[in-house]
Amino acid sequence: MSRLFEYLRALDRQIEHPAAAKPSGSKGIQHDDDAGQILSILHLAQSGDPAAEESTNFAVAEVTLVAEDRLACHAEPSSPAAHRYRLLRVRLREMRKVRNLKTVLITSALPQDGKTTVLMNIATALRQQARDSVLVVDGDLHRSSLSGRFSPRSIGLAECVKSSVDPSSVIKHLQPLDWHFLPAGTPSENASELLQSDAAASIIHRLSSCFDWVLIDSPPVAPLADAVSLARHVDGTLFVIKADVTPFKAVEQAVSLIGRKRVIGAVLNGTQETDRLYDRYSGYYGRDDAKRQSAAPPVHTPPTDGGGGLTQKIIPRELHLPA
């Protein structure tokens, strides 16, 4: 039985029997309120501690990272891109101080603008510092690149919305990225309607209460209305613009479709100017990082199963998140 489940059952008993002792929280962690207690248990479960891992019920999936993933924050933490993603992390946290910002939609005006790459790097950066729990949701129910990469042929958000599948049953904890992933699920023709539904909004809302950050990957705004639908369910939308590629008019139209007030900001992806700037100065600071990098343990690369470099270690599910 998971620690969380036991705690919740104890809560139930206390509700039924107020005189009963309040259940204790997770080991070494005490909080005054129940929600904080639950969260702390979840944090512990997501800390990578094998003992804590045993207390969570999300399946752990070992993924093989390749260079094409462009996870600078993971593979090259001293690179200019990784520094920039950390800066983005700082900016997001600063925004959170002034507004409610938990669920963030990552979208772009046109395909191939790099929103998935940006999303993965943001998630990794958020996870690396302060140990925020991060859930990445693949909201592209038409042509999911994330699901195809990390969880092919599995059910996901589509089924959760259509068939009321428990999202916790399909959420995976990706290693070594150390953030959670909710796949898109089976591609659906009525994806836009599904995403517009109240069920989708409810699921996102429920997920936001369980994670520190919920980052949702969406299709581009121009060809489809999915991003517009998802934007209504999230706290803010982050626009990814590819430098020297995305037409400015398309960006303007996309922003106007999303709604300017819903857009928290833009990320200019792939600028050469930043390349030159960091090329000039990274040599000064990069040497120290490189030394530290060389002392760090290598990236874990489990044996492949020949299916795309993905192996999964499934721990039986024992937790049902409250509806």
């Binding site: 260079a67 790097n121 613009i241 430098a243 400015f248 922003v255 992806n269 792939g270 600028t271």
Partner: protein, 523 residues
Amino acid sequence: MLDNMQRFAFRRRWWLGVPACVVSVGTVIALAFVPSQYTSEATLIIVQQQIPERYVVPTTTTDINTVLGAMAGEVLSRTRLLAIIDSLNLYSHQKARTAPEALVDLMRRNITMAPVAKTPGRMVDAFSISFTADDPRIAKEVTGRLTDVFISENIKTRTDQATTTTGFLREQVEAAKQKLTDHEERLRNFKMQYLGELPEQQQGNLNILGGLHSELDNIMTALNRARQQKLYLESLLNEYRRLNRRTVTAAVGPSAESPLQLAQRDLARMRSELVQLRSRYTENYPDVVYKEEEVGKQEAVVTRLAQSEPRRGPTRQPLPPSADPDPEANTAIAQLNSQLNANGLEIEDLTRSRAKVSAEIEHYQSRLNLAPVREQQLTAMLRDYDLLKQNYTDLLHKQLQAQLAGNLEKRQEGQQFRLVDPPNLPLMASSPKRLKISLGGLAAGLVFGLALAVLADKRDSSVHSEQLLSERLHVPLIVAIPRIRTHEEQRAVFRKRVLESVAGSLLILAILAAQLHVILQRG
């Protein structure tokens, strides 16, 4: 702004470089097919005439522009140019398919004549002749021919002009002279016709008229005196006759006066009158002179009577009328008659003189009356005469000057051209300006490329910089992420950059090679 320009240049470097290279190299290649043209030039100066102009005024203009214009028409005539084309076999390739007029036009376009201005504001005194051809030797030969033609034609033209001017002026002088002679004849005839009525004779006429008036006065005075003499003689004759008719005179009593006494009494009276006249007038006064003559005559009568009185005695008995008159008295009467006759003749003569003088006076008076009319006529004739004379004088002066100038030209001491710089053999092509054109091609290529780059940039509405995004999107730009490349991509980028560097170097080398080729070809 400089950063933006740098980014733009880097972003569109191929739009800039490729057109520049293509146009530049293409220009050089095109220039290779353009044959070089060589220009040979000669310089001539205008040598002023040796004799100062204040002594010999030239008949031709000295303005260089006018000279050039006049000579150009002569030197560049179709006949001369065709002769040069035929003698030097110019434009041999075009001859077969081009009309002679077109060849002449082509040659004219290759000939340049221009003044050489030495200093601003100073009159030009030199000019250059140049000819452009494919072959430098031909250019030099043609320029030499043109120069020779220029010099010889200038001399011939100036000489002809001086000769023509002289001949023309000679004819004009002859005509003016004839006109002047005719007018002099008319003037002479006029003067002869109206001699005496001319204004210059007016004073003479006045003097003559005055003299005639004086003469008339004298005649009138003489006539009056003669008439008075006649009256006197007649009275005296009557007296003598009366005395002669009284033959007997009474003894007693006072005896009647004798003629002598009467004569003496008249003499005394005349003398008293003379004295009165002398008291009023001078001796030359006509009345005084006349009275003196009468006194003289009367004294002669008294003397004669005195001589004849004693023979008759102190008293004489008058003879009866039937008796014969005194022969002495008859003598006196005869004398008186003769004097009367003389006086009558004198009066007639004076009357005729008076009429004559009056007629002359009238004649001269009419002359004086016509003098203003003649004066007016004469003035008009003299005015025309003066004009004709002035014209003749001027023409004569000009003819002399033209003759002098013509002689000067014949001796080739007038204004003439002198060759200062003979035609040169050009070693360097004058056109096309290969280096300029190639550099111009390069510049045009750059401009063209720039235009294409700007056009491409305008059409490219993608976002290039954070600043642009911030300015135009009005959505906060949170961060700019550099490109994340895999090793393969980095190697590909590296290869691409190497290729770009090589290609860019090749472009630059191509441009430099083209320019170097042009520079070497110039040498």
